[in-house]
């Protein structure tokens, strides 16, 4: 027992948190069921997507407003291979990840090659996603505006990533995906490549002066972020049984992917997860409130879009008072205090 304790003490703090998070989340489906399990699935999906986005936008400092491009590629690669060729979604997922990674690297290369920065870079990511949406909208091979449907098999199958209503299968698939992304982020940010990626974000010229090739490591971050985002696209198609160009590549998708990370804290390990835990239930709550308002709020009923306005106002408030996100602002304060103490101890 003491050897286990000794081993535990030597493990990185984030790895410990990850183990605890994994255990807690694995138990959740035994407590929740029905529609609350559905909310759980959405939380994990957006936590996973936001973590993948955070790799590029938070750690590498390359703000993307077009992650729908990678998400959509993942969804459509799975859909086409499954519907037209009968492939397992797992294989489709791998193909989608590869395609999205390549697309991210090629589009990223073009942006970096022509030195697009700040708002111009952001707009380019948006333009690439919109470009894909329009191409798919008019492409007969992927059924254009009509979209694609998952072939129903009416039974539970891990191989086909398909489960009957109320089953815990989807929850565990998306949990596995989330944990995979978190493990990759933890390991990457402790590695040489991770340090290089952050160094380039902090000061590209200084990073190059110590031998870091900025183009190479920016493309690494972008490609990995794109591939991991595509994994979420695969799951989304399997979960809602349907995909069309707007659901895959629409601007709303890009926004839903980036919001949890911004609310939780960009460039932090746990920000995206915390952001998703706050935002997804909040979104459900506001939209539920509009659908069936309580007596004293009856004037709200049927006012489409009002839920989004409430949602938006809450976001503005969070960003005003916690500019680095919920987790980012808190962890900054804790770190500052610890550092001050360490320095005082070192000096005396």
């Amino acid at each position: 027992m003491t050897r286990v304790a000794e081993l535990w003490r030597r493990i990185d703090r984030n790895v410990k948190i990850l183990v605890v998070v994994a255990v807690v989340l694995a138990v959740v489906p035994f407590v929740l069921s029905g529609s609350s399990l559905d909310i759980g699935v959405r939380i994990l999906l957006f936590a996973m997507l936001a973590s993948a986005w955070n790799l590029m936008a938070g750690y590498a400092g390359l703000f993307s407003f077009g992650h729908a491009a990678y998400f959509g590629i993942g969804a459509y690669a799975t859909a086409v291979l499954q519907v037209d060729y009968g492939w397992s979604p797992w294989l489709g997922m791998l193909v989608g990840m590869a395609l999205a990674g390549v697309f991210a690297i090629v589009s990223g290369y073009l942006s970096f090659r022509y030195r697009l920065r700040g708002a111009y870079f952001v707009l380019t990511t948006f333009a690439f996603a919109e470009m894909l949406r329009l191409i798919f909208l008019h492409w007969d091979f992927v059924n254009g505006a009509i979209g694609l449907r998952v072939p129903l098999i009416r039974e539970s199958s891990w191989f086909d990533m398909q489960f009957p209503p109320g089953s815990r299968g989807y929850y565990y698939v998306v949990l596995a995906m989330l944990l995979a992304v978190l493990v990759i982020v933890v390991l990457l940010m402790r590695s040489r490549s991770g340090y290089y990626i952050v160094a380039i974000r902090d000061n590209e010229e200084a990073a190059a002066a110590v031998g870091v090739n900025p183009m190479r490591y920016k493309l690494y971050a972008v490609g990995l972020s794109g591939a991991l985002t595509a994994m979420g696209g695969t799951f989304y198609f399997q979960y809602i049984f349907f995909i069309d160009p707007a659901l895959a590549f629409g601007p709303a998708v890009s926004i839903q992917i980036l919001l949890p990370a911004i609310i939780g804290g960009m460039g932090t390990m746990w920000g995206p997860l915390i952001g998703a835990f706050l935002l997804v239930p909040l979104g459900e709550l506001t939209s539920g409130l509009i659908r069936t308002p309580p007596e004293f709020l009856s004037f709200l009923s049927g006012r489409a879009g009002l839920d989004l306005m409430i949602f938006g106002a809450l976001l503005v408030a969070i960003i005003m008072f916690l500019p680095k996100g919920v987790y980012g602002s808190i962890s900054d304060r804790v770190t500052a205090r610890r550092q001050r103490r360490q320095h005082e101890e070192a000096v005396t």
Binding site: R190, Y195, V198, D202, A208, A209, H343
Partner: protein, 248 residues
């Protein structure tokens, strides 16, 4: 005396202009192996431009840069760094979100991919430049002098053959300068060649084996400190100006 030594770096007939403004005109600089060469000159003489041409941030219009037997003209900055040229920036460029140790770790990773080894080396260098008590602090929160030391620490972690030092003494209290001068002597003794741009003349005189005087983007004079300070053109164009101002 210095001619027998083979040059580690030679800048050959380099010219560079920005939008018609001639920053460097036919500049030749030879940096002998194992020595400290200083570039001096009034503000706007082209010292930092020369540094940027050597370190790969700028491609010269004409001429070439030879380092360690190879032509490195126009190489991107990261390749120049890997070839063995470390540099510090006059305006400090810390990785602000990282601690002091981590800043140096990034550079140490260039020589070894093993994290434990790189960390140990980074900690040792941080201690050596006198930042030990700051090692866990965020680099962005260091005072100016600390950030200057950090620039030096990062460049050292690269284990360079040649160090380009852009005003490492500026912003450091006169009482603390001697520490840096001693440190640079130690680094020299370890076999590292240095090219420095410096305004603090006392330090230039104390450290340099060779001095190159730049004026309006061209080399006005080059030689040992004694030769250069006796050169009439230098006195007239550079030192003389200050004397006249001081006397006038």
């Amino acid at each position: 005396m210095n001619e027998q030594r083979s040059p580690l770096l030679s800048v050959e007939s380099v010219s560079k202009s920005f939008d018609g403004l001639q920053a460097l005109t036919d500049v030749n600089v030879v940096v002998p192996q194992g020595e400290i060469t200083a570039v001096i000159g009034p503000n706007g003489a082209g010292k930092t431009t020369l540094f940027n041409v050597i370190a790969g941030s700028l491609r010269p219009d004409t001429g070439r840069v030879m380092f360690d037997g190879g032509d490195i003209t126009g190489w991107p900055a990261h390749r120049v760094a890997r070839a063995g040229i470390g540099r510090t920036f006059q305006l400090m460029k810390p990785f602000a979100s990282m601690t002091v140790n981590e800043n140096v770790l990034v550079a140490a990773f260039e020589r070894t991919g093993r994290r434990a080894e790189a960390s140990a080396k980074a900690a040792e260098i941080v201690e050596r430049v006198g930042l030990g008590t700051w090692s866990g602090q965020l680099a962005g929160e260091l005072p100016t002098a600390g950030q200057k030391h950090l620039e030096l620490a990062r460049a050292l972690a690269l284990e360079p053959k040649l160090l380009l030092l852009d005003e490492v003494l500026a912003g450091i209290l006169p009482t603390e300068r001697q520490l840096v001068i001693d440190l640079l002597r130690e680094i020299k003794a370890a076999g590292v060649t240095m090219l420095l741009v410096e305004h603090v003349m006392a330090a230039v005189m104390a450290l340099s084996d060779e001095i190159v005087v730049l004026h309006h983007g061209a080399v006005l004079a080059a030689g040992t400190p004694e030769q250069v300070t006796c050169d009439d053109r230098v006195i007239e164009a550079y030192l003389g100006e200050e004397q006249l101002i001081a006397e006038g």
